[in-house]
């Protein structure tokens, strides 16, 4: 989010400030909402950095005077992180520092340096890319050929994204734009390679046991993440995990362990990924459906409106959880993506009602008439002119929708009808219920409560910021 938009000094007074700038300025005055926004950022950061916070593999280690960074190798290992959600977030984790750094670099350039910017970025991209390829994969003794290739593809792709993130306006035309698209393509190819089944996997090693053994005999050295456990105990022997079964919180496992000896803290951190993905993906789906149907109903009225509104009425009659259960009942295996999709499929009626109402208000205003008289295609009038004026309430309901989607997913997982392979908070809570252990109930329960509260607070803040009556 571009935080400095509204307050940029070069802009003239508020008279020309856009609607969203005003809303943002309003939101900034609301301390609770800003706190919630900070919490959301923190949650996203935790979701992205989960393996850097909780992983049973060290960042760096020295064994028999050879240095290595096993975490980089195992970040995309099919056995260590089998889920698509984890692969996606791990990729972002790899790309994020580069992206962020390039974005900072881009902001440092003055507007006067317009002529320098293009070449400067290309040079920066090439240099940084080469450096990163060398750093990440070339120097690692254990790195396989495929890993090197991946490094060569992924890092430039990431840089391209970084460039476009840094100066979206500067690269909108000409050769640089084309270069960006090529880089994006390379990035996607790299992503496909990462997901591909031909990724070589290294044999699983229990690094904690190995480091302990090394420390006892020689001068072994390793830096582990803060929580040195994998959410599913991948790489550890069954004998070492059964000893931790239902362990109470102590100095070693800060939040204790569950029945299978999995560290609750690690699972909690990785659960953030599930919750954030559920929230964002499910909400994107239902907002998209809701906007489409609502705008059609509101713009065309007549029988289109009648048909869509009957459908909305039908959908509202189903209690969400019952409908979800009914849909989910027909599927043999329930992946987390299926759950997201179904939650998105069920949640749209509220949004489409909202959008329809806004369209009904807007469609007879002068600007719509003007657009029509200019002979603009209806598609452009609906989505280019009217829709942007209806997005305020949609944004609020999307924010509340994230909270309710996360709640719904947790509820499903709690009932044992979610994705059983994902480290979902609801599933952890259900385990706590059946085991009757306080630490297994409180940790996931409070996490769900915290996330839901955060998004609800943000939603309230947004609603107030959008309300002209409350404008200060």
């Amino acid at each position: 989010m571009r935080s400095d938009g509204a307050l940029r000094p070069s802009r003239p007074a508020d008279a020309t400030a856009s609607y969203w700038n005003v809303v943002w300025a309003q939101l900034r005055k609301n301390r609770i909402a800003m706190f919630a926004l900070g919490c959301v950022r923190l949650l996203l950061l935790i979701a992205i950095c989960a393996p850097a916070l909780a992983f049973n593999v060290p960042f760096v280690m020295r064994a028999s005077s050879a240095w290595s960074a096993p975490i980089l190798d195992l970040l995309f290992d099919r056995f260590v992180f089998p889920g698509g959600v984890d692969v996606f977030f791990n990729l972002i984790l790899l790309v994020l520092p580069v992206w962020w750094g390039a974005a900072r670099l881009g902001r440092g350039l003055r507007p006067a340096d317009e002529a320098v910017r293009g070449p400067a970025f290309v040079a920066a991209a090439i240099v940084t890319g080469l450096a990163l390829v060398y750093l990440l994969f070339g120097a690692l003794t254990g790195a396989t050929l495929v890993a090197r290739l991946l490094g060569a593809v992924v890092v430039p792709g990431a840089l391209a994204l970084a460039i476009s993130a840094a100066r979206p306006r500067a690269v909108r035309g000409g050769a640089l734009a084309r270069a960006r698209w090529v880089c994006l393509l390379l990035f996607l190819v790299g992503f496909g390679l990462l997901m591909g089944p031909w990724k070589e996997t290294s044999p699983l090693v229990d690094y904690r046991a190995r480091v302990r053994a090394l420390e006892a005999t020689s001068d072994g050295f390793a830096v582990f993440p803060f929580v040195p456990y994998h959410p599913d105990n991948v790489g550890e022997l069954g004998s070492s995990t059964t000893g931790r079964s239902l362990k109470r919180p102590d100095g070693e496992n800060l939040l204790g362990c569950d029945l299978n000896g999995r560290d609750v803290g690690a699972r909690l951190l990785f659960g953030t990924r599930i919750s954030m993905t559920i929230g964002l993906v499910a909400v994107s789906i239902f907002i998209a459906i809701g906007i489409l149907l609502g705008s059609l109903a509101g713009y065309y009225q007549g029988w289109v409106d009648l048909a869509i509104m009957r459908l909305v009425e039908v959908m509202i009659c189903f209690p969400t959880l019952f409908l979800l259960l009914t849909i989910i009942a027909i599927f043999e295996s329930r992946s987390i993506f299926l759950i997201m999709f179904v939650i998105g499929l069920v949640g749209w009626p509220g949004v489409s009602r909202l959008v329809r109402g806004e369209f009904l208000r807007q469609r007879n205003l002068d600007y719509v008439t003007a657009a029509k008289s200019q002979g603009l295609p209806e598609r452009r009038i609906i989505f280019g002119h009217v829709l942007p004026n209806c997005m305020g309430p949609v944004l609020v309901s999307a924010t509340f929708g994230i909270a309710s989607s996360i709640l719904t997913e947790s509820g499903l997982a709690f009932l044992g009808l979610g994705d059983t392979t994902a480290a979902s908070w609801g599933q952890m809570l259900n385990a706590g219920r059946s085991e009757g252990q306080w630490h297994l109930i409180f940790a996931p329960g409070l996490a769900i409560f915290f996330v839901v509260t955060t998004f609800n607070l943000l939603g309230e803040g947004l609603r107030d910021a959008l309300d002209p009556k409350l404008r200060r």
Binding site: P319, F322, A329, I330, S410, L415, L429, I441, F449
Partner: protein, 483 residues
């Protein structure tokens, strides 16, 4: 008022149709149902024991017949099957796997299976025009198709006519089963069997002679869609294949528990929310108001399954407390107690579930009550009432509250679906034998008739709840006239 009611009731019909349509689409889309295609005939050739094969194939077929899974989804055109179509299908079903591919072979077999009785005329006709080997294949399918399965819906009492009809069918099936020949039987035997079949068909020809109207009726009704709607209109949701009982009876047993829990929790939520809302709206932005608002906000965000689990852990296990029972809505020997003791027993059992079901609605409702009151309390008529010198309580309760609570009443329709949905979680946690628990069990057992029946009933219940809240609104607000 009554016209309004009638209008509302009539408007419910398209909504109900829409609901049933969605359920139907879900049912048709359900992959991997028991008795689904691919499971029916595919593996039968794989097993070696012929008797087992037969019984397995037959039970699958019975199952598919019972649930009308062997019928086309929307339109049944099998009343006029073309001879050539049937012939090629029989040939494909008998052909070498390598020649036609395993998929085509399986599909042809399944198609013949599904056609069943409808294929008899075509099969008899092509029997005349075929020779030797092909004839025996056709005869195999003729025997198969002519066999009518006496469907016995379990868990139901059959009327006499059905029993008689089934007996006749079984007798005929036994007779028809004998009319086959082996590949190396003498030609005399072949001719005999063929003439038997032809004679039988000529005698019973009327069974397959339909008028145009009858064809249209079969085309529409003897389909999955037609069967579904026919059953719905008779309020027949099918039979649970786990409980071996009609779904409606199962649900009827559970409805009172879920609905009374939901109604009770709505009642409690309203009784608490309205005074709370009024109290905090009377002194807006004071410390009291802030505390109440903040508390309610956090209550609103607390997931019910978390609170339920915490209460279960704290109050039922005996560590630290053992104050309430941890399952069911009444004790085991409750039936023997007198009314008063029964009531006490039920209250003791449902206290925790009610708390879990109520607090969320309470939080939402009192937030609404507060905003509703705040809108009203600054309006002119309240100022007028104050200026008249009425006491503060009269102003607030009689003038402001009655108007301010209108939006809260309409909220009933919105709270209800959430509450019934939430009952699933509460029933799961406290092991209460209500509709929610039935749904979860049905999903785990792949008991689709129950799942779909539940969804239908719950949606209908919600519809009724919304209707009640609308009517209530009309009754409470004299300004609105429904003419």
């Amino acid at each position: 008022m009554s016209t309004y009611l009638v209008k509302r009731l009539l408007l419910m019909i398209p909504t109900l149709i829409g609901i049933s349509l969605i359920i139907f689409i879900l049912m048709v889309a359900a992959p991997g149902r028991p008795g689904d295609k691919g499971q029916a005939f595919g593996e039968i050739n794989a097993t070696t024991d012929p008797t087992k094969e037969k019984s397995k194939g037959e039970s699958q077929r019975l199952f598919r017949r019972q649930f009308a899974l062997d019928r086309p989804v929307l339109w049944n055109g099998w009343t006029s099957l073309a001879d050539d179509h049937v012939r090629t299908t029989v040939e494909t079903a008998a052909a070498d796997q390598e020649a036609v591919g395993i998929k085509a072979k399986r599909e042809a077999k399944e198609r013949l299976e599904d056609w069943g009785y409808y294929a008899v005329p075509a099969l008899v006709r092509i029997l005349d025009t075929t020779e030797a080997d092909a004839q025996s294949r056709i005869l195999y399918w003729l025997r198969f198709s002519a066999t009518r399965l006496p469907v016995q819906p379990y868990g139901r009492v059959l009327d006499e006519e059905t029993v008689r009809r089934n007996a006749a069918w079984v007798a005929e099936n036994a007779e028809l089963a004998k009319w086959g020949f082996l590949p190396n039987d003498p030609p005399v035997r072949r001719a005999e069997v063929l003439s038997l079949w032809k004679g039988w068909y000529a005698k019973n020809r009327a069974r397959w002679e339909w008028s145009g109207l009858e064809k249209a009726r079969i085309g529409l009704t003897d389909t999955q869609f037609g069967t579904y709607w026919g059953n719905l209109l008779r309020l027949d949701f099918g039979v649970s294949h786990v409980h071996k009982r009609p779904v409606l009876a199962l649900i009827a047993e559970r409805i009172p528990i879920t609905v009374s829990l939901a109604a009770l929790s709505i009642l409690i939520a309203y009784l608490l929310a309205i005074p709370l809302g009024i109290l905090s709206a009377v002194r807006p932005y004071t410390l009291d108001d802030r505390i109440v608002s903040t508390g309610l906000f956090f209550l609103y965000s607390l997931p019910s399954f978390f609170v339920g689990t915490l209460l279960l852990r704290a109050f039922t296990v005996g560590d630290p407390w053992d104050l309430f029972p941890n399952s069911s809505w009444r004790g085991e020997g409750a039936a023997r107690l007198n009314t008063w003791e029964q009531l006490r027993d039920v209250i003791w059992h449902v206290t925790l579930p009610l708390v879990v079901m109520t607090y969320g609605g309470l939080a939402a409702l009192s937030r609404f009550a507060r905003t509703g009151m705040l809108d009203v309390i600054r309006s002119d008529f309240v100022r007028t009432a104050r200026a008249k010198g009425l006491s503060e309580s009269a102003v607030v309760l009689r003038h402001a509250a009655r108007n301010g609570m209108m939006p809260v009443v309409t909220l009933l329709g919105g709270v209800l679906p959430g509450l019934i949905g939430g009952s699933i979680i509460v029933e799961y946690i406290f092991n209460i034998q209500g509709m929610g628990l039935l749904t979860i069990e049905a999903i785990n057992n792949r008991d689709y008739n129950v799942v779909m029946g539940e969804a239908l009933i719950v949606a209908a219940l919600t519809l009724v709840g919304i209707l009640i809240s609308d009517v209530l609104y009309a009754v409470l607000d004299p300004r609105i006239s429904y003419k």
